[in-house]
């Protein structure tokens, strides 16, 4: 197995080549304005090492290029490159007073909302239709969308995670009227909770054009670099999706950068259960690994002010990093950071801002810049700053703990030098080789997942879980996993109050290796 993992962060683009389970080469380059150039540069510099040649004038076979990017979430947060969306909800006469976009921030709704259509349809919790789908109304809506020049449609329906039939039929009817439109069905994004699922679907639809263009550009960068390998995009949950599927569901890559770091940390350390601290230039993310995957946030997550509910890692971010401003009197570390200007603004690099990196240079922990420029910082001062950084880190770790005992901590990221070898409540601090490129490593080793989250009736608990597992397995295979390698990494069941017939909601998630092409 030979894979290239690339993580496009706000500051750096990291790339690694992994061969037979070993990191052969890691590189770090500044992220380019247009994202793609940085990727092409990374691939070219990997190629220039000769590592990708088989020694007989040909290229070695690469099984995949896995890219993680913050491009899509940044578009939402910064309100850039968004497409106008037609919202089609199937569920009338229910919820008419709370139409699509009803709880969005006004500025974002004004940018994204291209119109709202609500027609009869949807299901009950037990699979009975809530109302028959009004197909004529869907077709009429599609004609109106077309007349308005809309090109992206978000469809939602009551209880569609249990039965997506109405959403799928409506998507067919819409496509018949507007063959070029991109259609997002909320059931593809998962969870129970109509507004939050619908919101995720609408955000996804708003990213349709950006997603198409970005992924086309990634594919072009790979082609231009001369590497013949399929493109995969990393997802929030530490898995990858094939480019064609990822193009359809860009919201699934929203938090993939942080997830990749955690997965990379697990891989580089060989640990499956541990706390991970990823210290970047500006922020530090703390999360917990369970079975080699980040623990998931179970509740509503706001993205750019929009309430959503889908697979996201449970992370705590604090303003601590290698570029954090340091004030000595009174002592303060972060949350402001010099960010990508570190090599210009830091004291040791001839700038005027004292940063945590300068402290590390003065203390001899890092060999960078001009140590003479920070010679006035004595050992006691450095010690105080390190202690403050450690205190901030420790507080975040403690908040993320789910058990009272001591935890093992893996420290990764370019700013990992801020994490000392001993911390209270931590049994062992592990620094790993290539830890500064853990995110790219996490991208390179990502697997494919499948999930099932639905309500089962009149089954034993064991029967319901087995049924859910079967569905999750099929979905993983459909997403590109090798069936032989599938394993269940999450299984959760919950009986439902008030519902008759021993209803139980089961959520199962499985992962497997990418099937060999």
């Amino acid at each position: 197995m030979r894979r290239i993992g690339i993580d496009v962060g706000g500051t750096n683009t990291d790339a690694v080549l992994i061969e037979d389970g070993k990191v052969v080469r890691a590189m770090k380059a500044p992220t380019s304005e247009d994202v793609t150039t940085g990727i092409l540069d990374s691939l070219k510099s990997l190629g220039s090492t000769g590592l990708l040649l088989d020694g007989q004038g040909g290229g070695k076979k690469i099984d995949g290029v896995m890219i993680g990017t913050t491009h899509f979430i940044n578009a939402v947060v910064q309100r850039r490159h968004l497409t106008k969306v037609a919202a089609l909800r199937l569920g009338m006469p229910a919820a008419a007073s709370l139409p699509p976009f009803c709880d969005w921030p006004e500025d974002l709704a004004a940018l994204v909302c291209g119109g709202v259509w609500m027609v009869e349809g949807g299901h009950e919790y037990d699979g009975r239709p809530f109302m028959p789908l009004d197909e004529a109304a869907v077709t009429k809506a599609a004609r109106e969308m077309k007349a308005k020049g809309l090109k992206s449609v978000g469809i939602s329906s009551i209880f569609s995670p249990l039965d997506p039939a109405h959403e799928r039929r409506a998507a067919e009817l819409v496509s018949a009227e507007m063959p070029d439109a991109v259609v997002t069905c909320s059931s593809d994004l998962g969870r129970i909770g109509l507004l939050e699922r619908e919101n995720a679907g609408l955000l996804n639809a708003a990213l349709a054009e950006l997603s198409r263009d970005t992924i086309a550009a990634f594919e072009k960068a790979i082609r231009d670099s001369g590497i013949a390998a399929p493109l995969f995009i990393t997802q929030n949950d530490g898995t990858v999706a094939e480019a064609s599927q990822a193009r359809r569901l860009p919201v699934y890559s929203f938090a993939s950068g942080a997830t990749n770091s955690m997965r990379g940390a697990a891989y580089l350390s060989g640990l499956q259960d541990a706390m991970v601290i990823d210290v970047g230039g500006t922020t530090t993310d703390v999360g917990q690994l369970k079975n080699g995957f980040p623990r998931e946030a179970n509740s509503v997550v706001k993205v750019g002010g929009v309430r959503t509910l889908f697979r996201m890692p449970d992370l705590l971010s604090i303003g601590l990093g290698g570029g954090s401003h340091v004030a000595l009197d009174p002592l303060k570390v972060g949350p402001v950071s010099v960010g990508y200007r570190l090599l210009k603004d830091g004291l040791a690099f001839g700038g005027r801002q004292l940063t945590t990196t300068d402290i590390a240079i003065a203390a001899g922990v890092l060999r960078l810049g001009d140590r003479g420029k920070v010679a006035h910082l004595d050992a006691a001062t450095c010690q105080r700053v390190f202690a403050e950084a450690a205190r901030l880190a420790d507080e975040a770790i403690d908040r993320m703990k789910t058990e009272a005992g001591d935890v093992t901590l893996i420290a990764v990221g370019g700013g990992a030098f801020l994490i000392p070898d001993t911390l209270p409540g931590v049994s062992e601090v592990i620094h790993v080789e290539h830890g500064d490129c853990a995110n790219a490593v996490g991208a390179a080793i990502a697997q494919v997942s499948g999930e099932c989250d639905q309500i089962f009736k009149d089954l034993t608990r064991v029967g319901a879980i087995a049924a859910a597992q079967g569905i999750a397995n099929d979905r993983a295979v459909a997403a590109g996993a090798d069936r032989k390698t599938l394993q269940t990494i999450e299984s959760e069941d919950m009986p439902l109050a008030y519902l008759p017939g021993n209803s139980v909601r089961v959520r199962v998630r499985v992962v497997g290796d990418v099937a060999a092409g």
Binding site: P93, S97, D103, F159, E403, A404, P495, A497, Y498, P500
Partner: protein, 360 residues
Amino acid sequence: MSSREITLDEIESLAVGAWVLGTGGGGNPYLSLLNARALYKEGKRTQLIDSADLADDAYVAVIAGMGAPLVGIERLTDHRVFARAARLMETHTKRRFDAVMGMEIGGGNGVRPFLVAANLGIPVVDSDTMGRAYPEAQMTSVAVGDLTPYPMTVVDVRGLESVIEKVPSWKWAERVGRKIVVEYGSTASTCQPPRTGAEVKKWGIHGTTTKAIAIGHAVREAQRTHADPVAAILAVEPGKILFSGKVIDVERRVTDGYLRGVTRFDGLDDFRQSVLTVDFQNEWIVASCDGEPLAMTPDLICVLDSVSGEAVGSETIRYGQRVTVIALPPPAVFLTPKGMEHVGPRAFGYDLDYRSVFSA
């Protein structure tokens, strides 16, 4: 009749406070809040009055949503359906309502009277019949007072309408009502048996809307100023901190149509070395510290997110959450022997004599 206009900001606070008073159940008020925002945006306004200002012969609607919160978050909430439940009762009893109140202040039902008030143009009475959330119709002050348990209307968004004309007891009202709600798809809007002004004055639990607004306001202000939200609640309510810790286990099962189970918390800070367990039946019922009962129904047991101060529900509480558990004093009507029969620990199957955490 003296009344005062309620601002949308107060309804925002009400939603936060009602969720705290939901004591783990009652459903998150968020969707009802969204409806209130939509109504206020249309220019609708609502008034709040004291029960003391009701005429003895005033006719008061008692509003409640019934069903599974999980269905509620798919079908959402539509203010017009709650208005229809009240209208159907008016048509059926051939009498116009003068005011509306909630059956339960805890959870989504704490906000719903305002949705009806905005539609019908009548004021909301600052009273309810639970002072918190409870799972069943007989767990109310009006049931403790043996007031008439009928008629009741049950309405759904598709136009299904039922009237329960007569039942012999509140327990029957619960049984029959529940069957209809399940057939509707486990969510419905109801108008409970109407009350006269005199009945509300005698049997209502008073000032609960104002209380919920005050609690919510305290939490929101604390969030805004980065102050301690739990301390902020205790500054406006005579409550007690029972425990502070982290969820280490949640065990859930459904029996008789209820979500029952136990949540275990490991102590932090002042409570290190201790373990708290809280039993729930939709709502938090009995809290025990290191095996000893510490607080129990009808005392209000509220599990709050330690950082945000917002309530944590029994359906959504999860492993690892950091919470502070507080108790708030119960309504006096439940402290009588008759009140205990309806909502004391034995009404929930616990062989415990009620001992208030506030009497110690």
